[in-house]
């Protein structure tokens, strides 16, 4: 009888409190959004299930929890805390990305830079709300709209905030269709949204080959702290465009990135244990994340308008919204809004150019913020 009682007191049903059920509610919403609404299912399904997994109550000291040394989840989580998974994801991203539209119209890269202003605005906001500088930098990077970059920087600067920051970053990425369109519409006129972009010029193989080398040279020399992300990113891209290691490029953009995404999502989800996640800081992080994402979108669009004022060749300012690095969600939104105003307006490949420069921009920002906060 005593044995049975001991067993019962060790079950999750006995140990659970309201916080666990609250987290289970959040996890179920994520899983529902992924399966039912198909919002970013590749991210929300592993994260959502990870939230459920991480919030199964257990007896502390069994070596089961993600924060308990030598547990299986702790080993899997190692890839997050060391920044290994984000680095592998960037390798796959590089092997997927086609830079030809960016190379054909390099000035679109400026939109990718402008959209990073959300990061620095949020940095100030987070500091003003009382977050410590390292925490504020980790929260600010949500404005880059890049999940792996957010996780990477947070793992380096404020590992205790990985859960809420990752959940906020991925949630806002999934909510792109809700967050971005009203801002784009508010800041542009109908005439601006109807601007057609001329077809990009054909890009030679040599240009595609030279770009990753120049990119690595410039970005990683400028912000060496971005090497783990941009180093693998440009290497993946070189494998893709070289055409001599198709098998490796294929593996990087399929099996490798998929494996990393599975473990990244699952362990980040599992890191949201109720006692760590349900704090007032998490509320602040979610609020600041929304601000960061909105400011990033707005600054990209406004910079597009500014470029139209000073440049002879007009660009569609909607493209600025694709300067955040949520690939390809934000590019898709820009294209759809352009088509809504004029069905013959094809903005997708131009928006993808801004998107890919946004990936580079947010990784540079992560490197800059990391180097500002070293020590």
């Amino acid at each position: 009888m005593e044995l049975l009682l001991q067993f019962l007191t060790n079950t999750g049903y006995y140990l659970a409190d309201y916080r666990h059920f609250l987290m289970w509610g959040i996890g179920i919403v994520f899983v529902y959004l992924a399966i039912g609404k198909q919002y970013e299912p590749l991210l929300l399904l592993p994260i959502g299930f990870g939230v459920l997994l991480g919030n199964v109550p257990f007896f502390k000291g069994f070596g089961l929890g993600i924060y308990e040394p030598n547990s299986v989840l702790h080993y899997l989580y190692f890839g997050v805390t060391t920044g290994v998974y984000p680095s592998i994801v960037f390798l796959g991203l590089g092997a997927m990305t086609d830079f030809s539209s960016l190379l054909a119209r390099p000035k679109l890269m400026l939109l990718g830079a402008a959209a990073q202003m959300g990061i620095f605005f949020t940095l100030l906001s987070a500091l003003a709300l009382g977050f410590l500088p390292k925490e504020a930098a980790s929260i600010a990077i949500i404005g880059g709209a890049d999940g792996p970059t957010s996780i990477f920087l947070t793992a380096k600067l404020a590992p205790h905030l990985i859960g809420p920051i990752a959940i906020a970053a991925y949630s806002y990425m999934a909510l792109i269709p809700i967050i971005q369109p009203p801002i784009m519409k508010l800041l542009t006129t109908k005439k601006e949204r109807q601007i057609h972009m001329p077809d990009p010029r054909p890009v030679s193989r040599k240009e595609l080959l030279i770009f990753p080398v120049i990119g690595l040279f410039l970005c990683c020399f400028l912000a060496p702290a971005s090497i783990p992300l941009l180093g693998t990113f440009f290497f993946g891209n070189l494998m893709k465009v070289s055409g001599v290691v198709d098998r490796l490029a294929q593996t990087a953009r399929n099996a490798i990135i998929d494996t990393a995404t599975i473990f990244l999502g699952l362990t980040v989800g599992a890191s949201t244990q109720a006692d760590v996640f349900l704090t007032t800081k998490s509320v602040g992080i979610f609020a600041l994340g929304a601000v960061a994402f909105s400011i990033a979108t707005a600054s990209g669009v406004l910079f597009g308008k500014l470029m139209n004022l000073v440049s002879k060749e007009k660009i569609n300012p909607l493209l600025g919204a694709a300067g955040v690095s949520a690939v390809p969600g934000s590019a898709r939104e820009v294209h759809m809004m352009g088509q809504k105003e004029d069905p013959s307006n094809y903005l997708l490949m131009h928006a993808m150019a801004c998107n890919s420069s946004g990936v580079i921009g947010s990784a540079i920002c992560a490197g800059i913020l990391w180097s500002f906060n070293v020590g």
């Binding site: 100030l124 400028l222 920002c365």
Partner: protein, 136 residues
């Protein structure tokens, strides 16, 4: 500590200002360098060409490009065919477009689209195209 004092204390203004400037300047320089790549590759390709012997230089007859293509599609296609003979039997649309642009034919996109719609320019698979004059 909260508000402006907290920003001041953490050196926030400098971090935000410097960070924003670095990323803007960095990507602007990268964008400039990217725009230079075609010139760079063009320069080295020119250098790599073997010097042409004077005696080898043959004066090609200057091509006369019409200001306006004939309205009749088939007649217009003969102008295109004559200018693109050196592309071979089958060719990529990009090459055709570049060639048409290089010789200064008006509205290449529009014309190529009309040829495709009329079945004068047909796909032969693998992304290659060939001429199929209507009279054939």
């Amino acid at each position: 500590m909260y508000g402006l004092a907290a920003i001041q204390q953490a050196n926030g203004w400098a971090m935000a200002g410097a960070g924003a400037c670095i990323v803007l300047i960095g990507l602007a320089v990268l964008s400039f360098l990217i725009s230079m790549i075609p010139h760079l590759t063009g320069f080295f390709e020119e250098k790599a060409q073997p010097p042409i012997e004077k005696s080898e230089i043959t004066i090609k007859p200057k091509m006369i490009v019409p200001d306006k293509l004939p309205d009749d599609l088939e007649a217009a296609s003969t102008v295109y065919i004559s200018f693109t003979e050196d592309l071979g039997e089958t060719f990529d649309l990009i090459d055709l477009h570049q060639k048409a642009k290089a010789v200064g034919l008006p509205h290449p996109y529009l014309s190529i689209n009309r040829f495709r719609d009329a079945g004068i320019l047909v796909s032969v698979g693998d992304g290659r195209f060939s001429w199929q004059p209507l009279s054939e």
